[in-house]
């Protein structure tokens, strides 16, 4: 298997092509399901086989180079895949979670037409292929191929219901905003080649390690440009606006692409190129600041949203902010850990919401739900498990990873990392506030959806039912992972003087090994901590208290005799704030006014003035007019008189004679 890494993505690509063909051949849904889900299943098996084989052997990195892709002068790029510890972790959860979501889709999409069903699975398989290429790529250009591929599939799948205009528009918005980030990424590839002559990750790492101080400016530039790409792909400030709109796509798509995998590609990329950030304190600080600000910003919006998918969307943006915050203080392993746990619980939340929406006949507004826990127990309990995880309640998955990030941020502040200690401390405070808000809005969603009395219509109430097993089974698996996944993978053994218990920390440590960088990086492995053990325990207890506080406030607001009353009173007391949050800070409107309208105006100008007047009238018609005018004058030379012509001949001879002499 290790010699044939290409199988893993190609199985998914084959599935995509097969589903397309089946769609054209008008096959029935059962066959499409088998092919579409089976290909991903096989890919999962292949991925785990590769993982097992990798663990059983001793080399750090397995690199398969297939052919020379680009050979342009000195710019050489191989089409090559590599398997190391980081990508092993990634392919494991990407294929597994992806497989679960494929299974879930069988139930969720069963009411589509056969051709639509085939199209869905084709796109979804294509996405898996791109994501796997992204994660397995051994150099920046191959990663970029996957990067672009997932962006394309995101567009295709968001606009799956393309007959509705808002879906098509949302797809376009996602693609265009992504493109802005991709531009930064491309510039980063060029800069990397210009500075180091190579784009292979291993070679770049060696180049940086050889002289960390000397390459600081190059590393800063490349790090920042790469992060621009991550801002677009992982929906950070200011390019997050596409993610909430992306909820127009089918819910499994939101779960897979906009929760578990694609949006985390940015975090993976930062972790993969961690050597740039370790060599550049400025770039790292930028990552942390933007991550932290995004985390809080998105959480505030999530507080008042009424559409269940929008709450989850802003929650995703916020959690991605946490991951980047972790990366920004050098805790790359913690960030990747949060990626994995986030995949579990966020996918579970989205699939659960899909189950709810399915039962309510397409309704997504939580104000029209309520009391669903009686009708959908499996969905309810898995949703609660995932909510406990995201809120950061021990011992659930989210607690372990988020707490790790918070601890590392605090440590960075205390140790005055790279002399930015004050900023890092401020970010820690913001992150803590964000944790409070996260707990609050997630439990708000739980209470509004599942508790109390049903607030929708009678018709819908009669049809409330639990989802079929194809949908509930993945929910159960993901719910279970949300409970135990954290402690299984990354139990915070360092709190108990047993750092070896933290499996993921130990596993990924060699990939993120600190380079003797300017300013140093706080210990993110089994090394000495910047803070004492008692401080760490205090931090843990503090963050748990904050999370529980958020939960209790939500409970106070939304459960009991008068649900919604306290919320309504608060909204009446601060109407300005409430409207601002509800309108998502009017960011979309701002972008429309500042970016979209000027571009429209420019396009209009280019059309009406440059194209119509200048090019068409002046040059095209104008030249024809000039020719015509010349002809109108010159025709008078054709007098028809032979003597005139003879005169011309004689004149010509005379001129020739003079000139030749």
């Amino acid at each position: 298997m290790l010699g044939n890494l290409w199988l893993i993505p190609i199985l998914c690509l084959a599935g995509a092509v097969a589903c397309l063909a089946l769609g054209l051949l008008r096959a029935r849904k059962p066959i499409i399901s088998v092919v579409g889900v089976g290909s991903v299943g096989l890919a999962t098996v292949a991925a785990f086989a590769a993982l097992a084989e990798y663990l059983g052997q001793s080399s750090e990195v397995i690199r398969n180079s297939y052919f020379t892709w680009i050979a342009a002068g000195e710019f050489l790029v191989d089409a090559s895949l590599q398997l190391d510890r980081l990508s092993a972790v990634m392919i494991a959860f990407v294929t597994f979670v992806g497989f679960l979501i494929h299974v879930y889709s069988i139930g969720y999409m069963h009411s589509e037409t056969d051709r639509g069903y085939a199209r869905y699975f084709a796109y979804l398989n294509l996405f898996m292929f791109s994501m796997l290429v992204l994660v397995l790529g051994s150099n920046l250009p191959v990663l970029f191929v996957g990067w672009e591929g997932v962006g394309l599939c995101s567009y295709l799948l968001i606009g799956y219901y393309y007959e509705q205009e808002y879906c098509a528009t949302a797809g376009k918005k996602a693609f265009i905003v992504n493109r802005i980030g991709d531009f930064g990424f491309l510039l980063a590839i060029f800069a990397a080649f210009a500075a180091f002559g190579t784009t292979e990750f291993l070679d770049l790492r060696d180049a940086i390690a050889a002289d960390p101080g000397g390459v600081r400016t190059a590393a800063t530039l490349i790090g920042l440009l790469l992060f621009v790409g991550a801002i677009g792909k992982s929906a950070q400030l200011p390019l997050y606006v596409w993610l909430p709109d992306a909820m127009a796509g089918p819910t499994p798509v939101s779960a897979l692409i906009h929760a578990a995998t694609m949006v985390t590609a940015g975090v993976y990329m930062v972790a993969r190129t961690n050597f740039f950030y370790q060599a550049s304190p400025t770039a790292m600080l930028t990552v942390a600041v933007i991550g932290g600000l995004t985390a809080v910003f998105a959480a505030t919006i999530g507080l008042v949203q009424n559409d269940i998918k929008k709450v989850l969307a802003y929650s995703t943006v916020s959690q991605l902010g946490y991951m980047f915050l972790g990366a920004g203080v050098g805790a790359f392993i913690a960030a990747i850990f949060h990626v994995v746990t986030h995949a579990f619980f966020k996918a579970c939340l989205f699939l659960g919401s899909g189950s709810v929406i399915h039962a309510c006949g397409g309704e997504q507004d939580m104000r029209k739900m309520g009391g669903l826990k009686r009708h959908m127990p499996v969905t309810y309990w898995t949703f609660v498990a995932a909510t406990l995880a995201i809120a950061g309640i021990p011992v659930f998955a989210g607690f372990v990873s988020k707490d790790e990030i918070l601890a590392k941020v605090f440590a960075a502040g205390a140790a005055d990392l790279n002399h930015f200690g004050r900023i890092y401390s401020l970010l820690w405070v913001l992150a803590l506030a964000g944790a409070f808000m996260t707990a609050f809005y997630m439990f708000r969603a739980v209470y509004m959806t599942f508790h109390g009395d049903f607030r929708g219509g009678h018709e819908v109430e009669h049809h409330l039912h639990e989802s079929p097993p194809s949908m509930t089974l993945p929910l159960i698996v993901l719910g279970a992972l949300s409970v135990v996944g954290g402690i299984l993978i990354g139990f915070p053994g360092q709190l108990f003087h047993q750092p070896d218990l933290n499996r993921i920390e130990a596993f990924l440590h060699p990939v993120m090994a600190p380079i003797a960088a300017v300013g140093g990086v706080p210990g993110h492995g089994a090394g000495p901590h910047a803070v004492s053990l008692s401080t760490e325990w205090t931090l843990v207890i503090g963050s748990v208290l904050v999370a529980v506080a958020g939960w209790m406030v939500a409970r106070r607001f939304y459960v009991g005799a008068e649900p919604f009353a306290p919320a309504r009173r608060l909204a009446e007391r601060f109407p300005f704030v409430h409207t601002l949050l509800l309108d998502k800070y009017r960011v979309d409107e701002l972008y429309d006014a500042v970016v979209v309208r000027p571009i429209h105006g420019l396009a209009r100008f280019l059309w009406k003035v440059v194209d119509v007047v200048i090019i068409d009238t002046l040059f095209v018609n104008g030249s024809a007019f000039v020719v015509e005018l010349t002809g109108d004058f010159l025709r008078f030379l054709q007098t028809g008189n032979v003597r005139n012509y003879a005169l011309s001949v004689a004149l010509g001879i005379l001129i020739l004679a003079v000139v030749l002499w």
Partner: protein
């Protein structure tokens, strides 16, 4: 003595050339051109080119210009106008151009050094029939035959152009 003969012939040629060009009656034009050709034949003979002189008279004056006379009589061509009448611009410009066209060679000639020349009688051994005939039928045979073709083409063309439309 020879230069005097040449000068007389030259003067005659020029005078009658002017009459050819200027007179209104076509018949007078043709006849004065005959005189010009005779003068030129005289000059050829003076330079020892006997054959050429003979050909000039026989072919040029005797055949071509007679043809002209035939056509004039056939079509009953009268005099049309006087020299330079009508179309002032054409006339003015034409005069200027013509004079310019003539001036160029004159200026060129004035820059040449006068070279040697042969004189009658019998000074030019290549001027008689025998050498010319030999050259035409050996060295320049191709050109000779080609001229034949040209004449055939001319005859056919003339016949075709001048025929009456079949009714």
């Amino acid at each position: 003595m020879v230069p005097i003969v040449f000068v007389i012939a030259a003067v005659v040629a020029v005078v009658f050339a002017i009459i050819t060009v200027a007179h209104s009656s076509p018949v007078i034009n043709v006849l004065s051109l005959v005189v010009v050709f005779f003068a030129m034949a005289a000059i050829f003979a003076l330079l020892g080119m006997d054959f050429l002189a003979a050909v000039q008279i026989i072919v040029y004056s005797g055949a071509i210009l007679v043809l002209f006379l035939f056509v004039i009589m056939l079509l009953n061509i009268r005099s049309v106008e006087r020299l330079g009448s009508g179309r002032r611009v054409q006339a003015l410009l034409g005069t200027v151009v013509a004079v310019g066209v003539g001036a160029v060679p004159l200026i060129a000639i004035s820059l040449l050094t006068p070279a040697t020349g042969a004189v009658y009688p019998g000074a030019l051994e290549t001027g008689t029939v025998v050498p010319i005939g030999r050259a035409l039928l050996t060295t320049h045979l191709f050109a000779f035959e080609f001229i034949t073709l040209l004449l055939v083409a001319a005859i056919v063309g003339a016949v075709y152009l001048a025929r009456r439309e079949p009714r």
